[in-house]
Symmetry: C2
Amino acid sequence: MQNFYRQACDELICALHEVLGNPLSPMSLHEPEFAGNEWTYVKECIDTGWVSSVGKFVDGFERQLVQATGARHAVAVANGTAALHMALLLAGVDRGDEVLVPAMSFVGTANSVAHAGAVPHFVDSESGTLGMDPRALRAHLDQVAQKTTGGLLNRLTGRRIAAIVPMHAFGHPVDLEGLLEVAANFGLPVVEDAAESLGSTYKGQHTGTFGLLGILSFNGNKVITTGGGGAILTNDEALARRAKHLTTTAKRPHRWAFVHDEVAYNYRMPNINAALGCAQLERLPDFLSRKRHLAQRYRKVFSESNIFDFVDQPGGCESNFWLVAIRLRQPNAELRDLLLAAVNDAGYQCRPVWTLLNKLPMYLDCPRAALPVAQAIEDSLINLPSSPKLAQSPQ
Amino acid sequence: MQNFYRQACDELICALHEVLGNPLSPMSLHEPEFAGNEWTYVKECIDTGWVSSVGKFVDGFERQLVQATGARHAVAVANGTAALHMALLLAGVDRGDEVLVPAMSFVGTANSVAHAGAVPHFVDSESGTLGMDPRALRAHLDQVAQKTTGGLLNRLTGRRIAAIVPMHAFGHPVDLEGLLEVAANFGLPVVEDAAESLGSTYKGQHTGTFGLLGILSFNGNKVITTGGGGAILTNDEALARRAKHLTTTAKRPHRWAFVHDEVAYNYRMPNINAALGCAQLERLPDFLSRKRHLAQRYRKVFSESNIFDFVDQPGGCESNFWLVAIRLRQPNAELRDLLLAAVNDAGYQCRPVWTLLNKLPMYLDCPRAALPVAQAIEDSLINLPSSPKLAQSPQ
């Protein structure tokens, strides 16, 4: 172990040095870049006084998102967790239902399910995409689920299974065709958690636009940022209208009267954050180009390694490579932590994948499938610095 | 009616004209003003790349809020509804509980209760403060509530009554001493909805700092704005720490690992919004001075009216006069609507109070006290343009 650790550590630090150079100050995992119209648009908000609930940048940002993703409708909201909470309600998830989510995801995926009053039901990933595995999902549902007139029942818990939420981890698209087929077979709506995959496509179509609804995140560490923000994507006009209504306190339009017609949320994105988003989206093609170029350099430097595998985009997909990932060929959580300590000490901010959600104290008792692949990913994966500024656009 | 309407309409439009002048373009109810360090601070966020979850402006804004309110702790969050949702959870409100809220409030007050899984229980206002009436509340609780070992029970619904949420309407402080006494007698925590009362004091102490917790809002129409934002106030250090934890996904601090220890929320305020807040808070004394000066001019112009009463700050209180209000001496919802149509047509943006919450479709079945005063307020109150820019600082 000691010798192998030394070898792995040397190899990893050499690779980081080759791709990124010597860090003069700690090199972040992912930093935003504001070199476009950010200040112009934000200044316009401040100068006109339109910083808050309504304003042209919210509408403009939603239009730009429609253009960038090909979704018919986009509704800007406060953040990705809020977006997923709303998308689940809009997909018909009710209090006491179960929602199928990957065990390997950010905690926001499961929290959104809990916020909707439902219970996350954790399923396994596949090694190739890192995301939900359609074959494992089908086998699991064949075992635990039963079709009834009231919907798909979990025979072990007696609860209704109400939706499937695949998540495109680190920007790599899941096997959407496989998952859509399983969803159709079992009569379940798909809500895509595309929080990390703005700019990623599956067979040429943007992630987040395959399910009944999809969601994006514009947190500070994402490909583009609005400070804090998210969006709901859908091709269904009625759902889009309800998404806007439900995220803006369900107020009926009136010149002065305050009538709200359902329990709703203040999940809107302020105009000043949308202004940032408009400028950032203009830069998306450049960010993607540089991030893919950076990924290519990482790919190359790890291509001959016997210790690490570069996590590449699945076939037929274009990933945004939000966070570049490598995996220990032999999963080993202790070695992973030793390596993380070493590279972080050397000034390269690297991180493991999230603790599997089924192991967090509040989700320990939730239903789950066998999770051998997710566990192997957790024990082997390391994310590397991935900011667009770390690479120039390819010539 | 026709003649009386004419007389009331003429009087109201003359008064508005005298205080505000002729509107060249529609005169808003409440507009933010950015004439301080807003640019400088927001630009610093963009230039440094710190727009998102952490950053010095979030910490700075919280420190400034502590100074401005005298609360021991302030936690900045996404908006007032999120702040109240969290404050209710922190005060121990559980799913299925009831929470006493004024029927006369913004829908966010009741929605926060619903988001916590609890049921709003509507109580009456008093004419002098517009806010929750301690005498009516005590009489109502004497009638419906029963102290048990499990807490205070609503005998009619069997549910536990878990908290009291007074709201300082339009900036006018409620009768806090009266309400705190009722709360103590019935063993209930007080959570102050001070969304509208930043800068308002009761016997020299800032509103929002009397209860176990209080909340503020910095929506675009408030005295100061962060685009969208809110804060939780408390003097209890443990509650403040839990408020920060619960609003930032309950992540345990670690150099790289992702361990979250409870179902939590992404309710944080982004740094770019906090930057706006820091600059706005610096201007608060000037905004308050001008708003009080504007209120004084409205007070004077309505002092001789036989039709309208100026809604003044309660004795012993300093109101921020967030929205100046007048009331028809004889409540009359039809006349109120005719007047609203006329003044809005004349270019003065005026509005009625919110539809009483117990009348909204989703809250029709909620428990409630008799609400004669709230009803009279709804049928008589009109808010008038109240932006600080409508008055100069007094010489």
